[in-house]
């Protein structure tokens, strides 16, 4: 699965990627191990619920930026530095999106991916 997000993770300034299912389950994460533990222990259901109706959002914070993109099977969160080109991240997501559509006939999280 790491292969799937390779292009985004390799972009300069991208600090990590989190993929949440529409039910709020952590499907994929790639951050520092300390942060990954925190992400795993959080209940994401309310967060995912609050994103209802949103296609994409670009959030600017004091120290970083978070880009969120809705896919057919969940939400992709990308943590990045200010200088990262949002247009480039958007383009990478556009390319990635078809691979994140739910697969018919598969079970569990595997059904979320085409490759």
């Amino acid at each position: 699965m790491k292969e799937l997000f390779k292009d985004i993770l390799n972009m300069e300034g991208v600090k990590g990627v989190l993929f949440l299912s529409l039910q709020g389950d952590v499907v994929f994460k790639k951050f520092s191990s300390q942060l990954e533990k925190k992400l795993e222990s959080r209940d994401w259901i309310h967060f995912v619920g609050s994103l209802n109706g949103i296609r994409e959002t670009d959030l600017v914070y004091d120290n970083a930026r978070i880009y969120i993109r809705k896919t057919g099977s969940g939400y992709l969160l990308i943590l990045m530095d200010f200088f990262v080109s949002a247009a480039m991240v958007r383009l990478s997501c556009d390319i990635l999106l078809p691979a994140l559509k739910p697969m018919k006939g598969s079970k569990g999280f595997k059904r979320l991916f085409k490759k």
Partner: protein, 342 residues
């Protein structure tokens, strides 16, 4: 003009799920909630509500009692009943009592949304006007002997009010907890308003008992003298500000004007700004993205660009009052965000 829909139900899970589910209609109406009839009455006093959706079986004050109160004191507000204990008799009672809709639980959220939208559309069937002078417009209503319900929103303060005209005669007015002449004085003091017109006037007593012109003149006098209108003066005075308190923040109107000027100065006409307003219905989302920002160590949220696939995108600026910019989706997003975080 964003409309407020008040949903009343003692089932907290139901309230939360309706509030979340109806968020996707956020460009048409915002949702307020109350857990029983009494709490709903408090909300009705404080806010201008366009429609009430209420459960029937609730503690303290049930849905029928609430419906009766609304029909008596807020006859212009349509009520939709939702209930898990539906019988044909109960439905007939609700409709006879003045409800415009009756939906048995469980129901599809979309069905409720459709009923809400249909009722809200009637509220502005006679048209909507932006940035008009209230005095001139209302005199026109009198001259043309219009029968209508007019809802107004003050451009400066964001406050909302309602006026009722029968054959050109002003019967009543309502703003916050004021009614009758005090409410009319307050509304007529607003300079620039957004107006929606509904071509009906509910049956009601004439609480104004005066031609329009003297009411407009009195409103103007009170405004010039800075005298609070009757009823408003009873409200608690603001706390005195200690000498070492930092200077007060600019008011919402001046804050929004500053943002607009900043965008125009930096970007000319390319900014794509459609509207700018304050809207706390985004606060639920903002709370969530703020806490996620903290989890990632990203710091405080400064600005968010949101695409919901609608005709406009939204930029939210969190503060005590959430400021929302609706923008053309083709606007230069990056540049706008840069200007706003400067």
């Amino acid at each position: 003009m964003l409309k407020n829909v008040l949903i009343v139900d003692d089932d907290q899970e139901m309230l939360l799920s309706l509030k979340n589910g109806l968020k996707k209609y956020g460009d048409s109406f915002s949702v307020m909630t109350a857990k029983d009839g009494l709490e709903a009455l408090e909300q009705l006093k404080k806010n201008i509500v366009s429609l009430v959706v209420t459960d029937l079986k609730m503690p303290r004050m049930d849905g029928f009692a609430l419906l009766e109160h609304i029909m008596e004191h807020y006859p212009d507000i349509p009520v939709i009943i939702i209930t898990g204990y539906s019988t044909p008799n109960m439905e007939q009672l609700a409709l006879d009592g003045g409800a415009v809709g009756y939906i048995a639980k469980p129901f599809m959220l979309e069905n409720l949304a459709r009923s809400i939208m249909a009722s809200l559309r009637r509220e502005s069937e006679g048209g909507t006007l932006h940035s008009v002078s209230s005095g001139i417009f209302l005199q026109l209503m009198e001259m043309e002997q219009k029968t209508c319900t007019i809802r107004l929103e003050d451009k400066d303060s964001g406050q909302k009010g309602v006026l009722f005209f029968l054959d050109g005669e002003l019967l009543d007015a309502r703003v916050n907890n004021l009614q009758g002449r005090p409410a009319a004085y307050k509304i007529f003091a607003w300079d620039k308003v957004t107006i929606t017109i509904q071509n009906v006037c509910p049956k009601m007593d004439n609480k104004i008992q005066s031609d329009l012109q003297p009411v407009i003149l009195e409103a103007s006098r009170l405004k010039d003298e800075g005298t609070p209108v009757e009823g408003e003066a009873d409200q608690p005075a603001p706390e005195p500000v200690p000498a070492d308190t930092p200077p007060a923040k600019p008011g919402p109107s001046s804050y929004m004007s500053t943002i607009k000027r900043k965008l125009e100065a930096e970007m000319g006409r390319r900014h794509g700004l459609v509207d700018i307003y304050q809207d706390n219905s985004w606060n639920g989302l903002l709370e969530q993205i703020t806490s996620v920002g903290a989890l990632f160590g990203a710091g405080q949220l400064k600005v968010g660009y949101i695409d919901r696939g609608e005709t406009s995108d939204f930029i939210v600026l969190p503060d005590e009052q959430t400021t929302v910019l609706s923008v053309n989706p083709k606007c230069p997003k990056e540049k706008i965000l840069q200007v706003l975080i400067k």
